[in-house]
């Protein structure tokens, strides 16, 4: 069930209605039923894998939770208190090992399913090219949103293991957390600790929440249908023929892709958060106007925040503070002090970004994309003292609006360049296309009618352009004043006007229906 299908809209309308009509204590069960229905529409085979992940996570969480409870009650009991210190330590270590064993097994199962279903063909193709073998690829089902729900369950398991959250004993509640349908398609990757209060709570109808949610949903559809899907044919054409469309076209393609991806992904997240908001459920933001970032590190704190924090919390921090790595760092420091100090962070950054790339897709272009991000972040880190000195020496210049715009544009163009790897899905082709921007020219050709041969008419460009402009203006408003909806809410009639106006804009200028390809959200594939 595509977010942009009429079926999904009907599904939502019915869900919203029933949700507030039934007794509140059944609301979360209704959501679970809706999840099952939503997921089943994408194929029952995927549902089977989802159920296995839920079952494994619930069981492991429960076992770890029980172990914690037993440990606490034993240590508090007279019998536990009577134990000598050393024996207590041994006893505790035993319980800890047991929990570690449970966690490892559960992670192996959850991540194993993800790895097997998503990365087997990648593995086979690499074996084939490395050893000139001819192993046949597999045709296994790739459950919808597997990367998202697997990461959610992994975070749940580790948080239980770290005692950040209490284990949930109710299987159905774990199932709802794992499969909550708005998040299932493209995140945000939510944490159990953030969601549990709001997800299982009883929600009364709140007009403001409903109104905000509906506005957010419509704004999401606007971004997706008016901007992203309208630009899609041009992006496909430009990225599909890199030999023909090089030089200026490659840069134009990268810029179009930046607009399309942003509108597509943030549009999807707007729909997700809006749906949750109508249901009274709070979901954390996943984007904070990333194209206004002044450096790459800031960009990644603003773009796909839930993924970034996930990797930071569950890969980067544990790895950079891992005892073995610390030991190695100590050893290196004896010879190369500076490098030895930085090594754990550098290595963790590279591994984190390698995995981030791999998470995006089972292909080398994603891996290279991830590693390049890491390299740029590390280079920026190395140049930080220089940059700080520069700022101190030229405070007026670096504090000016123009310098800020320069930094924003520089960051934006670097990200566009990196994203060519995603756009062309091929490492050599991407590098060639990037190089051609500086060597092949074709500027005159690009602006003498060739852009009208990409499947977009003059009107399509105008609509997409106005759509991007509107998105930009809203982002500027948000950057200056926070929530635009809160601003509108204070005016007497505006919230009421926004709803029909946005709806009409989407209905009239959206790229949907016969004659347009009903495109999946880009992040669905992850």
């Amino acid at each position: 069930m595509l977010f942009t299908s009429y079926r999904f809209i009907a599904f939502l309308a019915l869900l919203f209605l029933v949700y507030y009509l039934i007794p509140k204590r059944f609301q979360w069960l209704l959501l679970l039923a809706a999840d099952v229905l939503f997921y089943a529409c994408a194929g029952w085979k995927g549902l089977v894998f989802l159920c296995v992940t839920v079952l494994v996570s619930w069981l492991a969480g429960m076992l770890m939770g029980r172990s914690f409870k037993e440990q606490k009650s034993f240590l508090k009991s007279p019998e536990g208190k009577a134990l000598p210190r050393e024996e207590r330590k041994v006893w505790k270590k035993k319980r800890e090992s047991y929990r570690k064993f449970v966690l490892t097994l559960a992670l192996l199962a959850d991540l194993g399913i993800l790895a097997a279903l998503k990365y087997t063909n990648f593995f086979i193709s690499n074996v084939n090219s490395l050893f000139s073998a001819e192993l046949a690829g597999v045709d296994w089902v790739l459950p919808m949103g597997i990367s998202f729900y697997t990461f959610q369950t992994v975070s749940y398991l580790i948080d239980v293991y770290w005692e950040k959250v209490e284990a949930e004993n109710n299987l159905l509640r774990v199932a709802l957390f794992t499969s909550f349908f708005p998040l299932l398609v493209q995140g945000p990757i939510s944490r159990f600790g953030d969601l549990k209060e709001t997800l299982y709570a009883e929600h009364s109808f709140d007009f403001k929440g409903f109104s905000f949610g509906m506005q957010r949903i419509l704004w999401g559809y606007f971004k997706k249908l008016v901007v992203a899907d309208r630009l899609l044919p041009a992006v496909k054409a430009l990225c599909g023929a890199p030999d023909q469309y090089n030089g200026a076209f490659a840069l134009i393609g990268a810029l179009f892709y930046a607009a399309e991806l942003y509108a597509d992904f943030t549009g999807g997240i707007d729909i997700t958060i809006g749906v949750a908001q109508v249901l009274g459920i709070e979901v954390k933001e996943n984007f904070i106007r990333p194209y206004f970032s002044r450096n790459i590190a800031e960009y990644w704190r603003r773009w796909h925040i839930s993924m970034g924090t996930w990797f930071k919390d569950y890969v980067f921090f544990p790895m950079s503070a891992a005892p073995r790595l610390m030991k190695l760092s100590k050893k290196i420091r004896t010879r190369w002090d500076g490098f030895g100090r930085k090594m754990p962070v550098y290595l963790s950054t590279l591994v984190t970004w390698f995995l981030t790339g791999l998470w995006h897709g089972a292909a080398w272009n994603f891996v290279v994309w991830g590693l390049l991000n890491a390299v740029i972040i590390l280079i920026a880190e190395e140049f930080k003292p220089l940059s700080t000195r520069f700022r101190e020496k030229f405070p007026r210049l670096t504090g000016s609006f123009g310098y800020r715009v320069f930094e924003i544009l520089r960051t934006f163009l670097i990200m566009c360049s990196l994203r060519m790897l995603d756009c062309y899905r091929n490492v050599p082709v991407s590098f060639k296309a990037f190089g051609s921007v500086f060597t092949a020219g074709k500027w005159r050709e690009a602006f003498s009618g060739a852009l009208l041969e990409l499947g977009l008419s003059v009107w399509d460009y105008r609509i997409a352009g106005l759509g991007v402009l509107l998105m930009f203006l809203v982002s500027v408003l948000q950057e200056r004043h926070g929530s635009v909806r809160e601003l509108l809410w204070k005016k007497p009639a505006l919230p009421y006007v926004v709803f029909p106006v946005l709806a009409l804009l989407v209905l009239c200028f959206g790229a949907y229906g016969v004659g347009y390809d009903a495109s999946q959200f880009i992040y669905n594939q992850f």
Binding site: Y6, W459, A493, Y496, P500, A503, L507, G510
Partner: protein, 362 residues
């Protein structure tokens, strides 16, 4: 929340929703193609609802009914009241639902179904679906027709909310869309789409090899449904194969239709072997080299069919009924005026310029 607060909150929202619905309706009407020039076939379905008097005969089927039979000629010949609920490439399930829709308004004695469209047993083209179904009034029949006709890319809801289908047409709106926003001109006379020009058949086109001679299951199912519907409403179903040279009517199809008609007690009239008896001459009686009859061919076929219906089926001559006669006099006048206009156009340009979307002769 007090009642006053509730009203203050919900009333503006309801008002907005009503305004939104009105805007969607208006924009849908504006962007929906009007079919008042060039491709007129899309305007035919809606015209049926403007009929003032009931009909003894209802034709259903594709272009071979609305081009090859003239209800005005049948009236003039034998006082038979008839209407053609034909549309371009009308598939059999569309014929069924259009007939079901017609039975909501009247009780014809005879239903004539042209079997040519039975060569299609699956949905074909969105454009033809739209021309056949957009004009239908909202009813269970329309919903059934939409569900049966949709191609893979289509959504049923866009037949109910036209803006969902035609939203991108705002780029190509013309004066016609504004002129015919709330009204339509008549493009047919009792469902007959007149063509007075002549394009003779010069040589017989080659006959393609028939890959699958069997008529599809869905077609038989709907033919059965049409028969049952006629029986339910006390109408007699006549199957016909109308006059044409091409597309070729294969012997295999003929055998299957004849066998079905014999088995189910239906009359089947194949006009192809009767063409000489009717007097159809494909050097003068067709406007597209044998695919369809022109006015002169249609008048010959209609006169023949009217006599047959009057003689063999005992259809009443309504020319003595003043109310009905008055309505048909209007139709005759419209028919003659339309013919005059086309003849004038032919004299002036040598072809029907109004049929070529303002372009030069194709």
């Amino acid at each position: 929340m007090t009642t006053k607060q509730k009203i203050k909150t919900w009333l503006p929202l309801c008002l907005c929703l009503v305004l939104l619905a009105a805007a969607v309706w208006f924009l849908g009407r504006l962007t929906q193609p009007k079919y008042m020039s060039g491709v007129l076939e899309g305007a035919m379905t809606a015209e049926y609802y403007e009929e003032k008097t009931p009909h003894d005969v209802i034709f259903i089927g594709d272009c071979e009914v609305y081009e090859n039979f003239s209800p005005v000629t049948m009236w003039r010949e034998a006082g038979i009241t008839s209407y053609i609920r034909g549309t371009a490439q009308q598939l059999i399930w569309q014929s069924y639902y259009l007939l079901e829709d017609a039975f909501r308004y009247e009780s014809p004695k005879i239903v004539v179904y042209n079997v040519q469209a039975m060569k299609y047993s699956e949905p074909q083209s969105e454009a033809y679906n739209r021309m056949a179904l957009d004009g239908m009034r909202l009813s269970v029949s329309k919903l059934g027709a939409v569900r049966a006709s949709m191609t893979e890319d289509e959504d049923a809801i866009s037949y109910l909310i036209p803006l969902l289908r035609y939203h991108s047409r705002w780029q190509e709106l013309t004066q016609e869309d504004w002129t015919y926003l709330f009204r339509r001109d008549k493009v047919t006379v009792a469902g007959y789409l007149m063509r007075a020009d002549v394009k003779p058949m010069k040589r017989l086109p080659s006959v393609p090899i028939l890959k699958d001679p069997d008529i599809g299951e869905a077609c038989w199912e709907y033919l059965g449904k049409i028969q049952a519907l006629c029986e339910k409403h006390g109408a007699r179903l006549i199957l016909i194969k109308s006059s044409s040279i091409w597309p070729h009517w294969y012997d295999e199809w003929e055998e299957q239709i004849s066998a079905y008609a014999a088995e189910h007690g239906l009359d089947y009239i194949n006009f192809l072997p009767l063409q000489d008896e009717i007097g159809i001459d494909f050097t003068t009686d067709t406007y597209d080299a044998g695919l369809h009859l022109n006015l002169y061919g249609a008048e010959k076929a209609s006169a023949y069919f009217a006599r047959l219906l009057a003689d063999a089926y005992g259809l009443e001559d309504h020319r003595g009924d003043s109310a009905i006669a008055a309505d048909w006099e209007e139709k005759c006048a419209q028919y003659d005026a339309l013919l005059d206009a086309q003849l004038r156009e032919l004299e002036e340009y040598g072809y029907l310029k109004s049929w070529t979307l303002g372009n030069d002769r194709p």
